[in-house]
Amino acid sequence: QSALTQPASVSGSPGQSIPISCTGTSSDVGTYNYVSWYQQHPGNAPKLIIHDVSNRPSGVSNRFSGSKSGNTASLTISGLQAEDEADYYCSSYTASNTVIFGGGTKLTVL
């Protein structure tokens, strides 16, 4: 069971919109609308920011949005801020009744 594929790194300037992709297969992302995204700042536990493709938990900024097309899900961060600099992980429910994560994407705010 291979990890979902994410770009290792992305960068953007304050105020920009940045997409982060997460590619899986028909056994996970492509079949189930159960993709989640997590934000992890250095030294901290991850934090849920999107669940079930596009749902934001209470308290999460509306600058974070999620979508999915085919086997690829995306997280978009709009109005980029310095505090958004972190690692981002996607995850998906799978046909094997397990959960699989992506390899993670390091976001740098220039």
Partner: protein, 119 residues
């Protein structure tokens, strides 16, 4: 307020056994799957497995089946992760997580992490 409070950091030698814990509070412990996520040094997240404290049903990720044991004591709202014989490659941060959603597919609460060093 719901909280997952994990046991402290551990330093062990290869071949030793270890059990780390996660105490849940602020919600109905027996009604949610709760499990573990591994993060090796400088690496990404890996889902290890889950337990449903209501009936102790467990699920494991394919890389962890047979390598670790997840158990729960619902009398004290605590979940455990146990190794019978540690390897140096078990060195990692381990996070306790609560599963939510239709298939407990997302993790809406995370413990603070337990650092396990095997050397």
């Amino acid at each position: 307020e719901m909280q997952l409070l994990q046991s402290g950091a551990e330093v062990k030698k290869p071949g030793e056994s270890l059990k780390i814990s996660c105490k849940a509070s602020g919600y109905s412990f027996t009604r949610y799957w709760i499990g573990w996520v591994r993060q090796m040094p400088g690496k990404g997240l890996q889902w290890m497995g889950f337990i449903y404290p209501g009936d102790s049903d467990t699920k494991y990720g394919p890389s962890f089946q047979g390598q670790v044991t997840i158990s729960a004591d619902k009398s004290i709202n605590t979940v455990y992760l146990h190794w019978g014989s540690l390897l140096a490659s078990d060195t990692a941060m381990y996070y306790c997580v609560r599963g939510s959603g239709w298939y407990s597919n997302y993790f809406d609460s995370w413990g603070q992490g337990t650092l396990v060093t095997v050397s």
